[in-house]
């Protein structure tokens, strides 16, 4: 099939008047006929509608077409549609190419129809040039292990595990601490219904413990993850409990005889537990643990355990290896303990506590039996102030809003008021009260009706009166423009929810990224909130950003559904636009190179010494970074080969190159931003000739050299914003490093700096793209064709030499 002479069919869409209203479609069709290898052209009112697709299918048969080009809207819209159309007519779907003449021409140049038509012709010509070089590709299939690993046994992870188990998949639930339950098990009541937290979570925990499809790996940590979607290999280290799990009945007789107590972290160190114990009564699994830091090895517990023989002081950590098809991260969050803020006196003043500590105080099963008392004197305070946003919304600590603090503050305030009535005055110092979800605003009204005093102002300072251990809070009541000094007997700091201390480590193990805030990054903030850039790895709950219980539960179930889309299949298909190494050209056989392996954002290339590099196809995401990085041009990216892109460049710059901007734009950000400029009908001068690549990391410096050699007026590389927007983790950063080296060199050779631009435009920045086009248009005009031609003449021989040298080398 490869040696077949291309027979190209070109279908040009009117899109009603969306295209035909500006562009002379007939003229474009006539022009397409004149291009090499085009054997059939047709224009339709709506190519994507059934009749339009029918015509394509028919034409493939009738005219023996082996390439199809549709000139219509953005490939981001209908490329999958037309690929399917081709496949239905037995044409390999990768023999299809799209020319975007709507978003890139008719919609953004409505007042210059002639120029818009000319631009459309050239966009079609570029698509045809690429189509002639297309290769048939086969989707890659990998087997799927239909088991899942859920990391983290809080409320999000519990729901993921239960849902997947109910669907019939085997689930490993990994929990770092002794028991599942997470933060929810520490709370007293939950908002806005005030049901008891452990009463509603407890039964779910028991369900997890009993489910035949769930295996809990508690008191254990993630060590490493290798493999790829459908085929992960996971290493886990289990810490020794010094208890033989199978023998422990959870009876607690050992605890009764243990003479040693130490502060219980579960109680925020406000209560105590025995050296052999469980952190709380409802723990799942109900297996005791000996804390050797505190145990005096009196062996009374061994006697109490007796014939059950569950105690083993010789236990060692042991590693377990699992094979799973999907991984869900539900590792949760930590609570900020503001020891580093001298202004609030936490850790210094007895009666300043955090909200999580307050939960343990007011909880009936807590260390004080549910009595709210002061640490300084054990007495009930007559006034309590809650200070909100401690650490949150603070550029010096955590910039983001922790989201659920307003609600838990209201809850705690209501609990006090309902418990102690007017014996306790309650104040809430807040900046903005955020109650956006179901039943929340009503809950806020309930708090107001109970007589809680709200002060709109951020507390700036807490001062202790040494004799009474009472506190004075300084704030401004901003509604009155009046500084206030509020005397209270207890202060509760509502502190930020922050990324888990080991989030960085987990991110490294799984090769996923974290946002500026330190939480795990989702693939797309709106449309892929549970996916990560690593296929088969999902996130749920507060590890992706602070979330309340209903939100975490929903995400837990959502992640189960997302994981099931993989686990439910025997085979998983991977788009074949992956990289391949030409083993003959690879330098790694002769010299120690391995650049591709180092630069691959996914670690999907192996380059063992003296052997050619090899792409692990299932792990390759098809960004093409390695292709651009390879010093020997020994790697190709299927469907985005050097030859194909080079053909597009040559075609784009065939006529009047000085007057044009050659743009190489990444699919996810800049190309999408340009699409949005079109959709928004932002008009800009019709100078750009766009080439779409999946990632800016694919942009080889030779493309830039080639474009200038051919006389391009300007070259634009459009990428996702640094540092975290790249859909391939770090492709944009690789591109930047490459171009940062190239730009000064070109300038030295006499290129005006404004002629080579690297710009970062997000998918949301249509306006920015349009403004950029206008700005570059003005600069292009200012430079004028004469200057550009003069510079080009000077550059050309050097660029030719550079490109020729490269070609020789690779041969």
């Amino acid at each position: 099939m490869v040696e077949d002479i291309p027979r190209i069919g070109v279908f040009i869409c009117h899109c009603g008047l969306n295209i035909a209203g500006v562009i002379d479609v007939k003229e474009v069709a006539e022009y397409a006929k004149t291009l090499p290898d085009v054997v059939h052209t047709k224009d339709n009112r709506y190519t994507c509608a059934d009749p339009g697709q029918d015509e394509i299918r028919k034409a493939i048969k009738e005219h023996k077409l082996n390439r199809v080009v549709v000139a219509a809207c953005s490939p981001r819209m209908h490329e999958p549609t037309f690929r399917k159309t081709c496949a239905e007519a037995d044409l390999n779907p990768y023999f299809f190419e799209m020319a975007n003449i709507r978003e890139f021409s008719s919609w953004c140049h409505p007042s210059t129809p002639k120029e818009a038509t000319d631009k459309a012709k050239e966009i079609v010509r570029m698509a045809i040039a690429k189509a002639r070089l297309l290769q048939p590709l086969k989707e890659i299939e990998v087997p799927v292990t239909n088991k899942a690993l859920v990391v983290g046994g809080g409320i999000a992870g519990i729901n993921t595990a239960l849902d997947l188990a109910e669907m019939g998949f085997k689930v490993f639930l990994l929990e770092k601490t002794e028991s599942i339950g997470g933060h929810m098990a520490q709370l007293d009541k939950t908002f806005p219904t005030l049901d008891c937290s452990i009463c509603i979570e407890g039964p779910k925990m028991v369900d997890v413990g009993r489910h035949p499809n769930i295996e809990i790996l508690s008191y254990a940590e993630l060590v490493s993850v290798s493999g790829y979607v459908g085929n992960f290999k996971v290493k886990i280290k289990k810490k020794p409990r010094y208890i033989i799990a199978d023998n422990c009945t959870g009876c607690g007789e050992c605890k009764e005889v243990c003479p040693i107590e130490f502060p219980n972290e579960w109680d925020m160190n406000m209560g105590v537990r025995k050296a052999i114990s469980v952190p709380f009564e409802q723990a799942v699994p109900l297996i005791y643990t000996i804390n050797l830091d505190h145990c005096i090895e009196c062996y009374k517990c061994v006697d109490a355990c007796g014939a059950r023989q569950a105690i083993n002081f010789d236990q060692e950590p042991n590693e377990v290896e699992l094979e799973v098809g999907a991984i869900v991260l539900a590792t949760g969050f930590d609570i900020y303990l503001p020891y580093d803020n001298p202004l609030y006196g936490y850790g210094k003043y007895d009666n300043v506590i955090t909200a999580l500590e307050f939960e343990r105080l007011i909880l009936a099963a807590g260390p004080t039996g549910g009595k709210v008392i002061r640490a300084s004197d054990g007495k009930k305070p007559h006034s309590i102030a809650f200070i909100q946003c401690v650490g949150s919304r603070d550029l010096k600590k955590y910039e983001y809003c922790s989201g659920f603090c307003c609600m838990y503050t209201l809850k705690n305030a209501i609990l006090i008021k309902e418990k102690y009535k007017d014996e306790v005055e309650v104040y809430i110092l807040y900046m903005d009260m955020r109650t956006p979800f179901k039943g929340y605003e009503e809950f806020y009204r309930r708090a107001r009706n109970l007589g809680i005093t709200f002060i709109r102002g951020r507390a700036s300072h807490v001062i202790e009166t040494p004799e009474t251990k009472n506190l004075v809070i300084r704030a401004e009541d901003t509604t009155l423009s009046q500084p206030v000094e509020l005397p209270v007997e207890m202060v509760v700091l509502c502190t930020a929810a922050i990324p888990k201390a080991d989030a960085g480590n987990v991110a490294r193990i799984l090769n996923i990224s974290r946002g500026m805030d330190g939480f795990f990054m989702e693939s797309h903030p709106k449309l892929k909130p549970i996916d990560t850039p690593v296929d088969g790895v999902f996130v749920a709950g507060a590890c992706q950003g602070p979330k309340d219980i209903p939100y975490s539960v929903s995400q837990g179930s959502g992640a189960a559904a997302r994981a099931a889309t993989i686990l439910s299949k025997k085979k998983w298909k991977i788009e074949p636009i992956v990289a391949e190494v030409n083993t003959e050209l690879c330098r790694n056989t002769k010299v120690k190179c391995g650049i591709c392996a180092k630069r691959c954002p996914y670690g999907s290339i192996e380059a063992p010494e003296n052997q050619p590099a090899e792409v692990i196809t299932a792990m390759c995401h098809g960004c093409g970074t390695c292709v651009a990085e390879c010093p020997a041009d020994a790697i190709i990216q299927n469907h985005f080969t050097d030859e194909q892109i080079s053909a597009q460049i040559k075609t784009a710059l065939k006529d009047n190159p000085e007057g044009k901007i050659l743009g190489i734009l990444c699919n996810w950000c800049c190309y999408a931003g340009a699409d949005l400029a079109g959709t928004s009908r932002f008009e800009y001068p019709p100078l750009i000739r766009p080439i779409r690549v999946m990632c800016s990391g694919r942009v080889d410096r030779d493309f830039v050299l080639e474009a200038f050699k051919l006389g391009a007026g300007m070259v634009l590389i459009g990428a996702c914003h640094l540092p975290y927007d790249c859909h391939y983790i770090s492709g944009n950063a690789r591109m930047k490093a490459r171009m940062d080296a190239l730009a000064p060199m070109l300038q030295k050779l006499g290129l005006s700096p404004q002629r080579f631009r690297v710009e970062y435009v997000s998918a949301a920045e249509g306006l920015k793209f349009a403004e950029l086009m206008k700005e570059m248009g003005i600069q292009l005009k200012e430079l004028g064709p004469e200057t550009i031609k003069r510079e080009n003449a000077m550059l050309k021989p050097i660029l030719e030499k550079m490109l020729a040298k490269k070609q020789r080398k690779s041969k």
Binding site: L395, R458, H461, R474, E476, D477, T478, S481, P483, V484
Partner: protein, 213 residues
């Protein structure tokens, strides 16, 4: 700057004695407030802020000065005011309110506000602002602009003129200089007011001092 205290010994009470700007602050006697000269002057019945008072560009103008860059980040939490040593004792000085007025575009009100000159520049607000607004610097910018409009409190005029005449902010009486040497201290180093005057001319500072206000 507290050297001016003896001079002011007699008049302890008024907080804003030096300024000539009209005030609409709550410290005025009730009778004045009920008269509401503001609306009279503007020929309108309502007490609302009038359209012509808004200058939406003002916040950008401030942001362009060094130290004013973060002004627009303010979310009005009141941290600056709550721990401001002056605001705690003043009935009128509220750094947050000044910033609010600037954000709203009430340029004239901000620049003619007498409270503008009450900031002690202790920088507590700047250090504690959770949104990195350099509050004290923003107030300094307000003052600098007010000076351009001819408002300079007497004390700053004096300090400025002294510096240009003597090189330092005070005129030290001969008696003191003698006393200094009696205690065994070396004579004060010579100063160079000529160089300062030259600089003051170049920058237009001299003009500002001599100008109206």
């Amino acid at each position: 700057m507290s050297e001016s205290k003896p001079r002011q010994k007699e008049k302890v009470e008024p907080e804003r004695e030096f300024t000539k700007a009209t005030s609409t602050s709550s410290e005025e006697p009730l009778s004045d407030m009920t008269k509401d000269k503001t609306s009279e002057r503007r020929g309108s019945e309502t007490a609302s802020i009038k359209a012509h008072e808004f200058d939406p560009h003002f916040k950008h103008e401030i942001s362009n000065f060094h130290g004013g860059e973060k002004l627009k980040q303010c979310f009005q939490c009141g941290t600056c005011t709550s721990d401001c040593p002056i605001a705690r004792f003043s009935d009128s000085y509220r750094p947050r309110s000044l910033i609010r007025m600037a954000l709203l575009g009430l340029k004239d009100r901000v620049l003619s506000s007498d409270t503008l000159w009450l900031c002690a520049a202790c920088f507590t607000c700047t250090d504690r602002c959770p949104q990195d607004v350099e509050v004290a610097s923003v107030i300094r910018i307000f003052r600098n602009i007010a000076v351009k409009r001819g408002v300079i409190p007497q004390i700053f005029k004096e300090l400025g003129s002294n510096i240009l005449e003597n090189g330092i902010a005070y005129k030290i009486p001969e008696l003191r200089l003698k006393k200094r040497e009696q205690t065994g201290l070396p004579p004060l180093p010579k100063r160079n007011p000529k160089a300062l005057e030259k600089l003051a001319k170049e920058t237009g500072f001299l003009k500002k001092l001599k100008g109206s206000g």
